[in-house]
Amino acid sequence: MRATSLLLVLATAGLAAACGGKPAPEQPAPEPTAAPAPPTPAPVDDSAERRRADSIAAANAASERGRAVAADLAAMINFEYDQAAVRTTDQATLDKKAAILAANPNVRLQISGHADERGSDEYNLALGNRRAAAAKRYLENKGIDGARLEVVSYGEERPLNAGHDEAAYAQNRRDEFQVTAGGDNLVAPQ
């Protein structure tokens, strides 16, 4: 019976992962063993049913927390035109990442810098590189090992918004953050 519950939990978590497209968090792990003890007089034994419901709820909650952590880790930052300095308004975004990286020492991030379509195509590759490097330096200054942070640049080759106005440009001047390792068991920072 216990083995069946565990399988169910794992299957549920797996399903959540498959459907959500995000890694299923196992931490904090759902605790099927700590589920309420089955009532002693049990004319009708619905314990399996209830354990199943509880475990799904726990898995969903963990999955929610994991998704939130993953979202914080992936949140983009933006830049002023032809600038690579981290804006003060983006510092909180990077601070969250630093805390998550500290709580998840196996996580590695690829930081990709992007530019809007103005300016030279080739210069924008260097500018994107400088933007990614700026985020890396910020995180390093928050105590994160630089070996966990990879810098790449796409210049203006991969716009997020295909428009040709300032709103589009502002969106395209950005750093993206992609987890390249250790993203399966994200722990929320304390």
Partner: protein, 444 residues
């Protein structure tokens, strides 16, 4: 006599429409005053009239040669099409049967006569004022289906330009460009579009080897990539030393073809390096910019200096250094806080100037800086104009402009200011113009 006059009138009326010499609508500067024609000797700044004489057959050759001569911007070309050559258009034996007077009336000083012989074309350059044949040569042409056919016809045009002006034309050259992330090659007149890199990968910044046999380019993978040097003949590629890691951009060959300068981008910034591709070794760092970018190197024709872009003073501007990285200094003067970003320098074939683009009121425009006097001159003003590349004659520049609505290639003649479009299908960017191509360097 009356019939001759009628014929003349007919020719004169036809000429401006048939010639295809109407300058492009987008003129950035006024055409130079054509002035008074004083003789048949070529004078810079004057454009002697030149007529490609009608004749039997060779229609495509006649069209290509006429257009090539027009594109030199050294002549005012009058191409006569669909005009029957009648007996009154024929002169005495000295002229080889060409009636000079009729063409002189059109303002022509040179007449180019093309006649077909077995597997060859015989070209005569007539001096219409002197009333005699000035040059004559027979050129062997491959069959029109041969991949080298058009280039051979372009060589004929280049030779005619040399006869008339002392300087060969630029038709026997080609350009590399980027469209949809692929590198393509086109002839100097925009024909024969040929893909050189595969679809599905992003290739950028093609740069010719001086002999036209290879090109270097950036292989942009997942935000990083090496510089490759690919043979145009075999398609074989090698990786430039020092470019195996991080992002490597903006390659340029040294004039002897042995070295490739490029920019290497990593978390420490972007710096110019020099690698020996002949011996496949020895990547050497030329700039040290902590958190500044140094990129887009371009060699002087003597190989002793390199102009490049640097952000060491803030926005990107054009600098110059010795080819060993010493003596780094500003090349194109700018007013700090006022002058826009400057990028994409390319040293002229004669060594006298460097062309680049600079932001003016939010749009890039072409500029020249002369290397000795450090004076800066603006070349364009209509639309966005960027990424210039010199033609082999050091007076034509191909660049990217959005004046048609999308980014396509255009050609400006620095001497006259004439601008024309280089026809390419769809959008095109990052052009690179070869030198004049020798037969040995050119793969079919």
């Amino acid at each position: 006599m009356t019939r001759l006059l009628a014929r003349l009138t007919c020719l004169a009326l036809l000429a401006p429409f048939a010639a295809g010499i109407t300058p492009a609508a987008a003129q950035d500067t006024n055409q130079v005053n054509e002035g008074v024609r004083v003789g048949v000797e070529y004078q810079p700044g004057l454009q002697p009239g030149l007529v490609v004489l009608p004749g039997a057959g060779l229609d495509s050759v006649r069209a290509i040669v006429g257009r090539d001569l027009d594109y030199t911007d050294r002549f005012r070309v009058i191409i006569l099409r669909d005009v029957a050559v009648t007996s009154e258009g024929r002169g005495g034996s000295e002229s080889g049967g060409v009636n000079y007077g009729i063409y002189r009336t059109l303002g022509a000083e040179f007449g180019v006569e093309l006649t077909e012989t077995a597997g060859a074309v015989t070209v005569r350059l007539h001096d219409l004022n002197a009333g005699k044949v000035r040059n004559q040569q027979s050129f062997t042409l491959p069959p029109a289906t041969d991949p080298g056919y058009r280039l051979e016809v372009h060589r004929v045009a280049d030779e005619v330009a040399r006869w008339a002006t002392g300087t060969p034309g630029i038709a026997a050259s080609r350009l590399l460009l980027v469209s949809g992330g692929r590198v393509y090659r086109i002839d100097s007149d925009g024909e024969t579009l040929t893909p050189l890199t595969p679809a599905g990968q992003t290739s950028l910044s093609p740069a010719w080897s001086p002999d036209g046999g290879r090109f270097a380019f950036t292989q942009l993978g997942a935000g990083r990539g090496p510089i490759a040097v690919q043979s145009l003949g075999s398609g074989a590629a090698l990786q430039v030393p020092g470019t195996a890691t991080a992002l490597n951009i903006t390659p340029a060959f040294s004039p002897d073809g042995r070295l490739v300068a490029y920019a290497h981008s990593d978390e420490n910034g972007t710096d110019v390096y020099l690698a020996n591709v002949a011996d496949r070794c020895c990547a050497q760092r030329l700039t040290v910019g902590r958190f500044a970018d140094n990129l887009s190197p371009t060699f002087s024709p003597d190989g002793r200096r390199i102009a490049f872009v640097s952000t060491r003073a803030g926005p990107p501007q054009i600098y110059v250094m010795a080819a060993d990285g010493t003596d780094q200094e500003l090349l194109a003067p700018f007013d700090y806080g006022a002058t826009g970003s400057s990028n994409a320098p390319e040293w002229s074939p004669d060594g006298a100037s460097v062309v680049f683009h600079r932001e003016v009121a939010g749009s890039p425009q072409l500029f020249l800086v002369d290397v000795s006097g450090r004076r800066v001159r603006q070349l364009t003003s209509a639309g966005r104009n960027e990424d210039p590349t010199w033609g082999p004659d050091g007076r034509h520049i191909t660049f990217v402009s959005d004046r048609s609505g999308i980014r396509q290639l255009w050609v400006i003649d620095v001497e006259t200011g004439r601008v024309r479009q280089l026809k390419t299908p769809g959008a095109a960017r990052l052009p690179a113009w070869s030198r004049r191509l020798s037969r040995t360097a050119v793969a079919p």
